[in-house]
């Protein structure tokens, strides 16, 4: 196996250039008032933190967390029973349903977003075929439904994979010891699926939190979300003073959530079996 090692080096170099170095650059930018070309003149300062006092950013942060939370909770309430149901099926039907869940994910997200944009427009092919008008583009509802459509599968997969591996003998043991179906679910099945639930929460919450294309397309930029604001800050580089520094700082805040989530996942799921 040792001989394979040299072949892994190109990717490590790639990661260093495109993950490690940018992260370090972000840190430099976030804690200084420099632009990218004068890194040598670095001086540590917290002046960029004023960005968090701007109402627009506060609003975007609040929206992002709020929608991400709602979407995660709805995904859980809808997704858990789906995951549970699939595990009870025969192998063939199981594979079929899983394929139905996976297939849309192989379509580019922007394409799927465009489809939802048409559905939410007045006078589209959707309204022609179904005789139904849902002109909700540019509303919070459109954003939340869009997020659900994008990320619900990511709640279902990890829960399914944990439940599917659950030893049926444990369920038999619980019933043998006098537990009803409900008691068995509450005392055995659900606690043992918690690893999958935590993974599902993270895999739904994080992308919902950071999404920027979705509020642009389905929210018409009328529903501010933090991903969109970060993107704006970087686009405005050179046009607005300190915009990339502020963008970097917000990015780091979001990144802290990713790192915390990763730590949490490795705690609840030591074998990484719930990650797909």
């Amino acid at each position: 196996m040792r001989r394979l090692r040299p072949y892994s080096i190109p990717y490590f170099i790639w990661m260093a250039i495109f993950v490690l170095v940018p992260t370090i650059l972000l840190l430099f930018l976030a804690f200084s008032d420099l632009n990218l070309y004068r890194l040598s003149a670095f001086e540590f300062r917290f002046s960029n933190f004023t960005i968090f006092s701007e109402p627009f950013i506060q609003r975007a942060l609040f929206n992002s967390f709020f929608y991400a939370l709602i979407v995660t909770l709805i995904s859980f309430l809808v997704g858990y029973p789906v995951a549970f149901y699939i595990t009870t099926l025969q192998e063939k039907k199981k594979k079929f349903l899983i394929a139905l869940l996976i297939l849309p994910l192989w379509t580019n997200m922007l394409v799927r977003l465009t489809a939802w944009e048409r559905i939410f427009s007045a006078n589209s092919i959707f309204s022609d075929v179904f005789g139904l008008q849902i002109p909700i583009l540019g509303t919070e509802l459109a954003v939340v439904i869009g997020l659900l459509a994008m990320y619900l599968p990511f709640m279902i997969f990890p829960i399914f994979s944990v439940l599917d591996k659950l030893d049926t003998k444990l369920i038999e043991a619980s019933k043998d010891l006098g537990a009803s179906d409900t008691q068995t679910f509450l005392r055995v099945i659900f606690p043992l699926s918690l690893g999958g639930v935590v993974s599902g929460f993270i895999m739904t919450f994080l992308p919902s939190l950071t999404t920027f294309a979705l509020p642009e397309v389905l929210g018409w930029r009328k529903v501010p979300m933090i991903g969109m604001e970060i993107q704006k800050k970087f686009i405005l580089e050179g046009l607005q003073p300190f915009s990339i520094n502020q963008g970097a700082l917000i990015s780091i805040l979001i990144m802290l959530f990713s790192i915390a989530s990763f730590v949490l996942i490795t705690k609840v799921d030591k074998e990484g079996e719930t990650l797909i």
Partner: protein
């Protein structure tokens, strides 16, 4: 005579095209240690799962304490199971595993505390309350599984090859402890195994099964000493099995010689199976012996030697504490009561 606690009447059970049990009948008395013994696939585990409520019969009825319980769920039966691979709850510690059944029944906290304590003492796991089950050895997990089942004071405890995963020494220890526990608790134990030694050591009653049929029911002594047919003889203990014919009442012929025996009631010249246990042969000087052969091989087994002797092309296996050289000419005798005659099984 003790009371019938469980009756299986005309049970039929199939899985798809495979019929495992067909017109299966068995009753189990109160307070008995009964073992279902047979090779894998003989239907013993299915039988246990039917009693536990994890399968339901296609036909026939299961009677428990005078009532038909076919439609009762496992959680409604006064029966607990000790599963083959323990099936302990990995998210709970030892205390919570054992307390599971009592908490379901909403037993008061203080009583749970007491009963878990005394049950853990019974299975010799005092001081292990807070350990997670994954940190325990196989033998300790086994004890937790037993504690978790018996704490509910079931009328019947089902044990599905519970010692299969343990090493020999531990298995022998646990055999003794299980038997002791059954005596103390006064619970009916229904034990499933394919290990004949386990069955002989622990059981009051052994039920020998093959291909969904009961071949023989009896005490370990009965089954060892008077196996009903060739299969039972082969399955329980080691045996020399010869094809023979009944010459007359009390006279059997095998390996070209006639021997006195204690069986009668066969037809003249009826073909029979003759079974002789390896420890039932005695050595005598060749001049005085009816059977004379040459030692072909010898294995030291600890308490005894296992010696193979070739007599006119037939191989005899003998257990003896006396040493013989390979190539020695030896004479053998066997007492008439140690020659077991069995009707040939009719091949279907």
């Amino acid at each position: 005579m003790s009371k019938k606690l469980i009756e299986l009447k005309h049970i039929k059970k199939s899985f798809g095209d495979l019929t495992v049990l067909d017109d299966f009948n068995l009753y189990i008395n109160e307070n008995e240690f009964i073992t279902l013994l047979g090779p894998s696939g003989c239907g013993k585990t299915t039988c246990l799962r039917l009693i536990g409520g994890f399968e339901s019969p296609d036909e026939g009825s299961i009677v428990f304490d005078g009532k038909i319980i076919n439609d009762l769920e496992p959680n409604q039966r006064e029966i607990n199971t000790c599963f083959q691979k323990y099936a302990l709850f990995p998210h709970l510690n030892v205390f919570d595993n054992v307390a599971f059944g009592l908490r379901i029944k909403k037993v008061p906290k203080a009583e749970i505390e007491d009963r878990v304590k005394s049950t853990l003492k019974l299975v010799k796991l005092e001081g292990y309350s807070n350990r997670m089950v994954s940190t325990l050895s196989g033998g300790q997990q086994q004890r937790v599984a037993i504690a978790r089942a018996i704490i509910n004071r079931p009328k019947v405890l089902l044990l599905d090859e519970p010692l299969g995963a343990l090493d020999l020494k531990l298995r022998q220890e646990m055999q003794y402890e299980l038997k002791e526990m059954q005596r103390q608790l006064g619970i009916t134990f229904i034990y499933v195994t394919h290990d004949q030694e386990e069955a002989l050591t622990m059981s009051d009653i052994i039920v020998i099964m093959n291909e969904g049929n009961i071949l023989q029911i009896g005490s370990p002594e009965d089954i060892y000493n008077e196996p009903k047919n060739r299969f039972v003889a082969q399955f329980i203990g080691e045996s020399n099995i010869f094809d023979g014919t009944m010459v007359d009442d009390y006279l059997v012929k095998f390996c070209g010689r006639e021997f006195k025996c204690v069986d009668k009631g066969f037809e003249e010249n009826e073909p029979v199976d003759v079974v002789i246990r390896p420890e039932d042969f005695d050595f005598v000087p060749p001049s005085k012996a009816k059977i004379v052969g040459v030692v072909d091989s010898l294995i030291f087994k600890g308490v005894h030697y296992e010696i193979n002797i070739i007599v006119d092309g037939h191989e005899y296996t003998i257990h003896t504490t006396r040493y013989r050289e390979i190539g020695d000419k030896v004479g053998l005798v066997v007492e008439p009561q140690n020659i077991h005659i069995m009707k040939k099984e009719i091949k279907q």
